[in-house]
Structure formats: structure tokens, C-alpha cells
Symmetry: C2
Subunit: 338 residues, 2 copies
């Protein structure tokens, strides 16, 4: 990881405020699912209706237990940080913790928080808002192997699939690192860049920075964003693919969606999607291969899901799996050299 | 033009400082070439070796002659604004002029300039640095016709070709507007957005904003940026194509270049380039057509250029012209409905 990429220090205290249901704490739940060893405790406010099942801790207790960063692991309502959340954040800073947030609203824009952090010498991480400067992409081949998840649409399971592949590789003793490109992924990885918030000229350069040259037998598992077929976000996806120089691509898909996210566009045809992603990827890595399709079947019954995956496998000639139901073994088996 | 797109008021006083050759004043020369009716005078400092052939004016004289904006039409050396340039800018503000600049360094970052403009109620335009907020792209079809220039590489004549087409259409009495996406184009058009400086999520949304719904018989001629094949900048190009929803595409090319700009990559094959640009464009406009190839033959003799264009026309089946030598009549003739 190059020096201009942010780095959040674990372990974490997960702050979920006074959210009114478990879903509002899904960022914290995601961190706990993928990095349980980093999650020492939870901090909640009176009336909180979510529970991560972690030990309840004040920032002071957390600091004493070795915690280094309090992570805001809940969505706030209305985009405004409530007074009682601000109080908790100030307590964390006072206790000697850094604070990391994936909220739209910046911690650095709230004067009391900014000033308290400066006075205490603590770091504030607004992971949705990159502050680093990147070079423009070079396109030069670099050592190490890279896998990138791409999608038929936004929010179809690219982060989940990437993290599941990283975990499976590590369990096999293969050197691998998840490389985060969105806010939740960054909080899970402790580093990365929100590529959709980078200035357009630097999209691929930012990806080159978060997935730099590495050992020849090391795999970066890069979290994809958007879709080459999304009329609003395809530019982000394009730069991400070029910067990633992927050896392997995994196409992620949600089969019950009727239109693309937030726009009145049909989902692309799977075969067309595979073809265009490969064509673009081969510009910066001529050896790029599509190795599998990862389908989020959660809206389908097990039988419906099975049928859909079998049909898709027949059409594409690729392993097609639901990573939650089937695991990602079939994907990992297709990674070149494994 | 929607209200969140900047608008620089003509006519202009062109400031070229004390540059040491004509090339360093090429921004001013471009404005004068394409908008002579807006260029009332030039302002130079002692020792200036460039000359636009315009009447020499102080900002005060320019203001009296009706000028509303002083445009910094020269490149400064070293990225630092010299003291004598700052003095000239302050004089312009004092004289009641706005100031527009395409330099990397922001006028708004120089305290005396910023404060003088605020005190005098004048506008400072740093056209390389968008300050407007855009929505994400909607992808909804909008009325009016659009032509977009695309390229085999960066800096291959997209702005020149676009402006030549706009001029040819206006001479025929056809409603047309050049839509600028880079700093020189913005100074020429008086409005537009530097799309490569927009946050990645908003590339296509910004293009939708600068080329909004219009009369059915109106043509937006949209200046392209980068290339789908450039490993650093393809994301910008992708978002630009999706946001433009072009009815017509013109591929721009520079035939003597050995590698793509600033990277060690071969130029793409022309046919492949036409094919990929069309494929991407048809996602947001199924009727998109590639209508011509525009080649900058300035590095070739007239005979060499002619041979190359004939060969290219044979291979592509499209009109292939050098807009400077041949004009753009052959391109305009192919615009659907004209």
C-alpha cells in the first residue's frame, strides 16, 4: 500500500448510536462479519434497537482494552449528525481514539469535532471523501496477481463476493488482500479509496495506488463499483477496470431486479456484459479472463436459485454460484495459477 | 444551459502577460480564432514577445469600450503567478471587469485577488476547477440533437473539429451550440465544464447539464475528452459518451503519434475504436452513428495526408477529412437530418 492511501488503525470500537433497527447498523455488522478479530466492543446510546452482540464499552474502557479507532457503524437519519452522536464522538477523541466514518456528512466539517481531534492529535477518517492526491494512471504492468469484481448493476454483491474470495484464499494459505473502493469496504479493510468520489482524471491512478506491485504469488482482490452499462456510473467502472489490470474478473449479478439502480434502464444481457468487461479489461491486461458469475439469489427460493444458476452456467460456460449459499470454492478453483 | 453551469460574460480583453513566444499565448489565439467578435483588445506587459494583432488596451480603456471580462489567455511558467500578472489582474478587477483563467493555479487561491474581487463584487472564473454541484446522470432521453467528438487519443483535434462543425452549421443557418468540456473550450464558449476535474460519480451528470434538452432541430456539438483506449482517462471518456447521448459521433485522430499521450501504449486500431465507441454510445442512444473521421494531418505533406485520408476512407467506409485543409463540409453532410 503506498503512503498516500489512508490507513485506519485497528482494533475497533463499533459505534451504532441510537438506531431504531438492525438494518441501520449494517455497516457495523459488515465489519464484524468480515473482521471479527478487530471488533473489541460496541458503543450504543439509550434507546438503541440494534445489537451486535459485542461487549458494551465506553470509549475510555475501549481505549484501556487496546482499541485504537471508534468506527461510526450506523447510518444517521437525515444526513445531520445528532447532538448525542457528536457527544459520543468527542468522548472517543478525549479517550485517545481516532474516529472513522463512512457518512456523507464529514466529521471534519463539524467544528467541535475537528478542533477536538486537532487538539488531541487524533485522526478523523471521512472515508467517503478522499483527501489524498493521486497521480494519473500509468497503465504500466505491475507484478502480482489481481482479481476484480464487476457487475451487471450497482449493489449486486461485489463487496461481499470480493471479501468471500479473500477469506477463502487466506484459509488456503494463499497471500491475498481485499482492496476496498467504497466506504463500507474501506472500514472493513482499514484502507482503500472511495473511487466514485475521486476527481475523474484520477480514477485509474487511484486504483493503481491501492493495488500496487506485489509478490508474484500475491492476489489483490479488488472491490468493483457500478457497471459499464450504468448510464450514470460507467465512467467509474471503466477507470476501475483499467487501473486494476485484472488477471481474473468475476461478474456479480442480482437476478430479480427489473431496472438498473435509480435509472429507467434494463439490466444488460449477461453474455454482453461478460464480453464488454473483458474487452475493456484486455486494454491494460491482455491476459484478463472472466472466471465466474456470482449471483445474489437471496430473493429466490433455494430451488429457483439452483435452476437459475444451472441455466446461467449452461449459457456462459462458467461456474455460477451464490457466494452465500454455495461458497466461493468454485470461483477460487478457476483463478489462474491456483 | 442550466443555471448551475458557469457563464462568463463577453466581450473579452485578452491578457497575455509577458510571454516569450506566440505558442505560450495559444489560448488567447484560440479564443480570437473562434470568437473574434468577442475579442475587443489585448493587454500585454513590457517585454511580451507574442502579439494577437488586437488593439492594445488597459483594463480601464477596455471597460470603457464595453469589455466585461479579462481572460488570462497565456500559459504562465512554473505554475506560479508572477507579481506583475497579479498586478494586472487587480487592475482589471478595479476597472470593473470579471477575470477568467484556465490556469492550474486558482485565482481564488490568491488572497489579494480573491479579496479584491469580493470587495468589488466581481466574478473570478477558474474554469479548470468546477465549483458547481451536479446531479448524477439520469440517462433519460432528451429532445434536440447531439454530436460528440471522440478520439483515438488525447489532444488529437476534438476541440478544433467541434468548433469547425459548429461554425459550418451556423453558416448554414442551422441552430447549433458548441458545448465545452475543457478549459480552452470553456473560455471560447463562455461556459461549460472541465469534465476531467469533476468528481467521478458526476461525469455523465455534468454532461447532461451542459447539453440539456433543446429544440428538436438544434444541434449541440459536444467537445470530447480523452479516449476509451487511454489507460488513464478512459473513465472520463466513458462518462462523457453516456452523458452526451450522441446521435452522431466523429472520430478524431493524429496519424503520426507512436504511443498514446504520456503512457507507453500503442494507438488503438481505427476500426476497433469506431466499434467500441459506437457500442458504448448506443447504451444511452440506440441510434448513435459514427459519421466521419477527422484527421490532423499537419505533420504530413499535402500528398501524404491525401493518401492517408483516402486509405482510411476505403477502410472505414466513412468520409475522412483534415478539418483544417479540407473543411468539415463532408462531416456536416453526414449529420442525420441535414
Amino acid at each position: 500500500m503506498t503512503e498516500n492511501v489512508l490507513s485506519i488503525a485497528p482494533p475497533y470500537l463499533l459505534f451504532i448510536g441510537d438506531v431504531q433497527d438492525q438494518l441501520a447498523a449494517k455497516t457495523a455488522a459488515g465489519i464484524l462479519q468480515w473482521r471479527p478479530q478487530w471488533c473489541i466492543g460496541q458503543s450504543r446510546l439509550p434507546g438503541c434497537k440494534a445489537d451486535l452482540g459485542l461487549r458494551e464499552m465506553t470509549p475510555k474502557e475501549a481505549a484501556a482494552a487496546g482499541v485504537r479507532t471508534m468506527v461510526i457503524g450506523a447510518a444517521n437519519s437525515g444526513g445531520i449528525l445528532a447532538e448525542n452522536w457528536i457527544t459520543s464522538i468527542l468522548e472517543a477523541i478525549e479517550a485517545g481514539l481516532d474516529v472513522a466514518s463512512g457518512l456523507h456528512m464529514r466529521l471534519n466539517d463539524i467544528a467541535p469535532i475537528r478542533e477536538a481531534a486537532r487538539a488531541a492529535g487524533r485522526n478523523l477518517f471521512d472515508v467517503r471523501h478522499p483527501t489524498q492526491r493521486f497521480a494519473t494512471g500509468k497503465g504500466a504492468r505491475r507484478s502480482g496477481k489481481r482479481l476484480l469484481t464487476v457487475g451487471t448493476d450497482c449493489s449486486v454483491g461485489k463487496m461481499y463476493t470480493s471479501l468471500a474470495i479473500e477469506r477463502a484464499l487466506k484459509e488456503k494459505g494463499i497471500k491475498a488482500d481485499f482492496r476496498a473502493t467504497g466506504q463500507t469496504g474501506i472500514l472493513i479493510a482499514g484502507s482503500g479509496v472511495s473511487v466514485d468520489a475521486v476527481v475523474a482524471d484520477f480514477i485509474s491512478g487511484a486504483v493503481e495506488a491501492i493495488a500496487p506491485a506485489n509478490d508474484e504469488d500475491h492476489w489483490d482482490i479488488i472491490e468493483g463499483q457500478g457497471s459499464l452499462f450504468h448510464p450514470a456510473f460507467a465512467g467509474v467502472t471503466m477507470g476501475l477496470i483499467h487501473g486494476a489490470q485484472p488477471d481474473a474478473l468475476v461478474l456479480c449479478h442480482e437476478p430479480t431486479r427489473k431496472t438498473m439502480r435509480a435509472v429507467d434502464y434494463p439490466l444488460p444481457d449477461i453474455e454482453e456484459c461478460i464480453d464488454l468487461n473483458l474487452r475493456v479489461a484486455r486494454r491494460t491486461n491482455p491476459d484478463a479472463r472472466m472466471i465466474a458469475v456470482s449471483v445474489n439469489c437471496s430473493a429466490l427460493s433455494p430451488e429457483e436459485g439452483r435452476r437459475l444458476l444451472d441455466d446461467l452456467a449452461q449459457r456462459t460456460g462458467l461456474p455460477c454460484v451464490d457466494p452465500l449459499r454455495d461458497g466461493v470454492e468454485a470461483i477460487v478453483d478457476r483463478m489462474p495459477g491456483l
